[in-house]
């Protein structure tokens, strides 16, 4: 049992995680106060013979206070979330100069089209990999995703990225990784019999390694 989020490795992971820890602290306090209060009432006011309960219909002042406190708290969490949300998922949030990839999701695999050495999609040196995505670190990346058949969701827990990809609608997903290594990509939307094994690997290289790796991938690799 852990309340600690796994390591986050994208530029916005820390922002998302901070919202989580704030909500955890706020709800944690409410939890202790309310459940503690409930337990205390249950013990203190248990029935005893010859005693009658206190006859009271309510108290408007108390009710206003306990409506106002949650109202203020949730407005605070809501406004804060709205700002971060716009940075991550807003219509204009994709950073300029992002390295572009095409992603095609189908039952039950991912196809990632990498721009070749020229760094541009739609040219002859593009190549496609099945269930493998390679990106450079510290470089914004944008995935233009489409779904062939049913809805899939692109989920990389370590990046704090999740986005449904709806057939006919597609999705634009961006992130900037902040550390190198191999991380798992999962499908997070029930997509049929093989949903549980619709898994891919994300490899994050240093800039130099990425250039070398690109050079080593000849366009022949397109044939999956």
């Amino acid at each position: 049992m852990s309340w600690i989020l796994p390591e986050g490795i994208s530029t916005f992971a820390a922002d998302i995680d901070l919202i989580y820890y704030w909500i955890l602290v706020i709800t944690g306090i409410v939890f202790v106060v309310v459940e503690g209060g409930l337990l205390w009432f249950v013990i203190k006011y248990r029935a005893r013979p010859g005693r009658k309960a206190y006859y009271i219909q309510g108290n408007t002042k108390a009710e206003i206070i306990w409506s106002a406190i949650p109202a203020v708290t949730v407005v605070f969490i809501g406004l804060w979330s709205a700002i971060i949300w716009d940075d991550i998922k807003g219509r204009d949030s994709v950073p300029e100069g992002s390295l572009a990839y095409d992603v095609r999701a189908e039952q039950f695999e991912w196809h990632f089209t990498h721009a070749g050495v020229d760094g541009t999609l739609g040219t002859a040196d593009d190549f496609q990999l099945r269930n493998q995505l390679h990106v450079p670190v510290n470089q914004p990346v944008v995935l233009n995703a489409t779904a062939e058949d049913v809805i899939h969701a692109f989920f990389v827990p370590a990046l704090r990225v999740k986005q449904d990809i709806v057939p006919g609608l597609g999705a634009v997903i961006w992130f900037e990784a902040t550390s190198t290594g191999e991380y798992e990509i999962a499908c997070a939307e029930l997509c049929g019999m093989g949903h549980y094994r619709m898994r891919a690997m994300l490899t994050i290289h240093t800039q130099e390694e990425y250039s070398q790796w690109l050079a080593s991938q000849s366009p022949v690799a397109t044939a999956e």
Partner: protein
């Protein structure tokens, strides 16, 4: 108050007419019998839904090991006792579907809407008793069709209880054809049953209240059922319409939800959740109503802030219509809309908090009797708090990016629907059982059942929060496929074992229920010393409920009133200073 709509069959005398067994117990128009029919119907589905859950949990806790008893299943479900992934998807789908549509919803609305509304407002029966009988007998074939799906070629529906298109729209993607179609037909049919029921409840509450039963003397259970009925009446037709459209996509080649031919998959989600979020409140508001009644009774105190509680029910019912998009934050809809739905969702925290604090206010300085219904009601409050607080995490669209479609939402929904609704249902059944059957349930068995359920419910569902925080996706057949999930596998195993014990513990409820029926202690008119009108008639009440329409002199929660010696003062008890209510206060029989 309107004075019409007296049920024809009940004008005149309250004593039992000579009815044949079939008219009395099978095709009955008596709201009490229909309520009990719904009770038995939905308890069976509750059991089936629970068994499906244990099968899912077997696979998750012990992936790819043969399930004990799995050999009984055909090759198309579990060859060698090992569940197939497509069968697992059917289990996921049917556990959700049966629990929502065939267990929790009929338990709350079908059972107690029927049983309590006439008895608590002082009416001889529902406004439309035959419509009422029809609503039960329409639900039965819906249930049979839903069960039949397990036995057709291609297997049962496997696209989740939310049936997201296009997965659900085209057999090409799942291999499921007849199963999904039966699923859709069954939902459309049980929807009709709900609509008939809701029409009846609304009419009855508006027209058949006894003299003196003003709106603000209605018990909160009735307020909750009344607002719920309005939600049912407006929400269910949307589901029915969407289900029929999807059925056409499946069968006659329309493309409402199929993008390859110009349809829009997101339209299904909008329609489903436009129904689905009011549905969530359909599943919790009646529970809140029952718990309010039981907590006041157990605490021997008036409900703290009755008027505020009524307005909280009304505002939750209203807000329920403007939050559906929070199910779709990561769906690809316009991100600005995501922010709008986040803000509307957060507003629900306010009436929810009011309800929790007012329940606590009710218990404060009370003289609390811990009868079995009260244990369940207090557990409801404690569990609803956890479900409400976990909702805050999900309501933030930004943090939802990470926890959407993980076990965090599975934990949340179970804290609300099991910790919330189902504890309230156990509370309500044990509270009104003596009235229904004229016998008491064993308090000892009731307490054993309560404590086992309370402990193993928490052991089963609380750790799911941490699975979600670890990124564990929901609805996956085999978590060991992912490296990052392997450290979480011991938690999965722990949860599974807790679920097995939780489901097994329900045997104590079954025994108490059946034993009470046969040799329970005889219940008097008012065994809980309560104030409601239903306690002024024999247990069980006769056909027509009262010899003479009761008159109402006060609100429903006058516990520990200084006006009387005892610590309760029923709505129907006339004190010296009380004047007779205006004759036209209710059902016109006065």
């Amino acid at each position: 108050m309107a004075t019409s709509a007296v049920p024809l069959e009940h004008s005149g005398h309250a004593e039992a007419h000579e009815l044949s067994f079939i008219r009395k117990y099978i095709f009955s128009t008596d709201h009490k019998i229909i309520g009990i029919q719904f009770l038995l119907f939905s308890l069976v589905f509750l059991l089936v839904g629970g068994i499906l859950a244990t099968m899912m949990r077997w696979q998750l806790g012990f992936p790819n090991e043969p399930m004990p008893g799995g050999g009984l299943f055909p090759e198309t479900m579990a060859p060698g006792g090992i569940l197939l992934p497509e069968f697992y998807n059917s289990l996921v789908t049917m556990h959700g579907t049966l629990m929502v549509f065939f267990a929790i919803m009929p338990l709350l609305v079908g059972v107690f809407g029927n049983y309590l509304i006439p008895l608590k407002i002082g009416a001889p029966d529902m406004a439309f008793p035959r419509l009422n009988m029809a609503s039960f007998w329409i639900a039965v074939p819906a249930g049979l069709l839903m069960v039949a799906g397990f036995f057709v070629e291609g297997g049962h529906a496997g696209a989740g209880w939310t049936a997201y298109a296009p997965l659900s729209a085209d057999p090409e993607w799942t291999g499921v054809h007849a199963g999904q179609q039966l699923w859709l037909l069954s939902l459309a049919i049980i929807g009709l049953s709900s609509i008939l029921g809701a029409t009846n409840y609304i009419t009855t509450v508006v027209n058949l209240r006894a003299p003196g039963m003003t709106w603000f003397r209605l018990p909160l259970s009735i307020w909750a059922l009344f607002i719920t009925s309005i939600l049912v009446l407006l929400a269910i037709p949307i589901l029915s319409g969407a289900a029929i459209m999807l059925y056409f996509d499946q069968t006659i080649g329309t493309h409402f939800f199929d993008a390859t031919d110009g349809g829009q998959p997101l339209l299904w989600q909008h329609l489903f959740w436009y129904f689905g979020h009011p549905e969530v409140y359909i599943l919790i508001l009646p529970a809140m109503g029952f718990v309010s009644d039981i907590i006041a009774n157990g605490s021997r105190k008036p409900v703290f802030g009755y008027d505020t509680m009524v307005w909280a029910i009304v505002s939750i019912g209203f807000l329920g219509w403007v939050v559906w998009g929070h199910h779709m934050f990561q769906s690809g809809m316009n991100p600005t809309l995501g922010t709008v739905f986040m803000i509307s969702t957060f507003f629900i925290a306010v009436p929810s908090a009011i309800k929790v604090f007012n329940w606590m206010g009710t218990m404060w300085r009370g003289n609390i009797r811990f009868h079995v219904p009260m244990l369940h009601a207090v557990a409801f409050v404690a569990m609803f708090v956890i479900g409400g607080l976990s909702g805050v995490f999900m309501a933030s669209n930004t943090f939802d990016i990470y926890i959407h479609d993980t076990y965090f939402i599975v934990a949340h929904i179970h804290y609300v629907l099991f910790g919330g609704s189902l504890f309230a249902i156990f509370g309500a059944i044990t509270f009104w059982y003596p009235k229904m059957f004229g016998k008491m349930m064993s308090p000892l068995l009731g307490k054993i059942h309560f404590w086992l359920t309370f402990v193993f419910f928490n052991l089963a569902f609380f750790p799911m929060h941490s699975l979600g925080i670890g990124g564990h996706m929901r609805r996956i057949y085999d978590p060991t496929q992912y490296e990052f999930l392997q450290p979480l596998q011991p938690i999965n195993k722990f949860i599974s074992i807790s679920v097995f014990i939780l489901v097994a513990s329900q045997i104590f409820f079954a025994i108490a229920f059946i034993m009470g029926w046969f040799n329970g202690e005889k219940a008097g008119e008012n065994p809980w010393e309560d104030n409601g009108l239903e306690w002024s008639t024999p247990s069980p009440p006769p056909h027509g409920n009262w010899e003479k329409t009761p008159h109402v002199y006060r609100g429903p929660y006058e516990f520990s009133s200084p006006l009387v010696e005892e610590d309760y003062l029923p709505q129907f008890k006339k004190l010296d200073g009380d004047s007779e209510p205006a004759a036209a206060g209710g059902n016109g029989r006065g």
